[in-house]
Symmetry: none
Amino acid sequence: MPLYNHFLLPENQSGRLDVVLVSPRNPLNIGAAARAMANFGFTRLAVVAPYAPNWREARSAVGAPQQLLDAKESATLAEAVSHCTLVVGTGTLTYRKPEQPVVSLPLLAPLISRELARGGHVAVVFGPEKHGLTREDLSYCHMLVEIPTDERQPSMNLGQAVAVCLYELASRVSEETCTPKAPEPETEHTHSVAASGDLELLAGVVEEAMTAAGYSPRSMQAANHHDLRLLLRRLAPSSRDTRRILGLFRRILWRLNRNQKSSY
Amino acid sequence: MPLYNHFLLPENQSGRLDVVLVSPRNPLNIGAAARAMANFGFTRLAVVAPYAPNWREARSAVGAPQQLLDAKESATLAEAVSHCTLVVGTGTLTYRKPEQPVVSLPLLAPLISRELARGGHVAVVFGPEKHGLTREDLSYCHMLVEIPTDERQPSMNLGQAVAVCLYELASRVSEETCTPKAPEPETEHTHSVAASGDLELLAGVVEEAMTAAGYSPRSMQAANHHDLRLLLRRLAPSSRDTRRILGLFRRILWRLNRNQKSSY
């Protein structure tokens, strides 16, 4: 979306961030990872020792063929990350005691941002579906990142884990690197609220309709008048909506009065 | 992970946040959504008009059977969100001009947080894989949330979109609710917002009044119906105000119909 493109990494930085999948078993997951990369503006995919020889044809990568076609295949993780200055391993830590520093995903962005800003090259490494990164894989990592999940179900689907990590990196890294901040997105909330006079006009017509419909007994009219005024301020309709509601009530009033006459 | 469990929503709040999937075509995606819910501590899944009758057996939901087993199925979105006080639609806006306020995903959390904190019930609604939510679906939404994506590939995989949204909500909503803030000053503004079903009831009576008053020619009825639904979400009347307005329109309608009869 053009509106929010300031959330994406500048190209000279996203070109230095690799997504590395170690021994993915299901080609659909490789495709899903590629699609998430396309969604969040990342281009460099590396696949280490893939299980299926035909992984590049993964069909789930709707609209993300380029990431798949350009993906590098290597036999070992060592090879895949040999050019990287910061290697970050992903996964749940529920069942193991980490040997590296662990950061929670929301805190990773500033670290990666700093590394990219000083010209470094970063890899974010994802393990195979079933058991995640091995202890040996992790030994290539400078740090581990953990996606905060529920302890009752900590293990994420591979494609979803990639999506969540890249979303976080795309939005927070660019927050870091893009100060001064882009102006707040214009929302449809920005509407001109009706002037008090317009609300009074509307209140008058609604009151007439109340009377014509027999809604408001004479003894209640003052109270209803007051409540109606408060109500309209609470609702705070835009001037356009006010005109629209006015139109409806004018019509209702006209019909009530016409019927009134014809029925007597 | 125990370390980060403070990132998850407190249970009394996650039990008031529904994930709603409208007409999902692929049961695997329903399973993926359920798994992401389990990962981030959400329990309430609703499926509207699913494509496959056997959707509940989706196998991709490793470890997330409970969310699937407990999922509610309904025929219409109106029914699924009738108890909700804040309905948030998701999707890309590249190809359409939104009629509701749009917030970027990172800014959504405080809004949802406030709604949950005051006892409201929130729905986050996801459309079908191919084309996303329809214009009619969106008319039940108070606001739209947009995941900031690359304009060259804005459309996300359904399971990944659910994962990214829930990750963001689980981590940032709980940030909000866990920082002890001074309680909001009680003002006249502090009101319980009407549930979606109450607004539908009101819309129905207003429409009848429109017809009875001859406001809405047959050719305009669909458009007016749509506009009215949006208008009521913009105004966001409290449940008390909604009852009051309903009372007025019921009276008007009754009178219009009575006169109608007596004048023919």
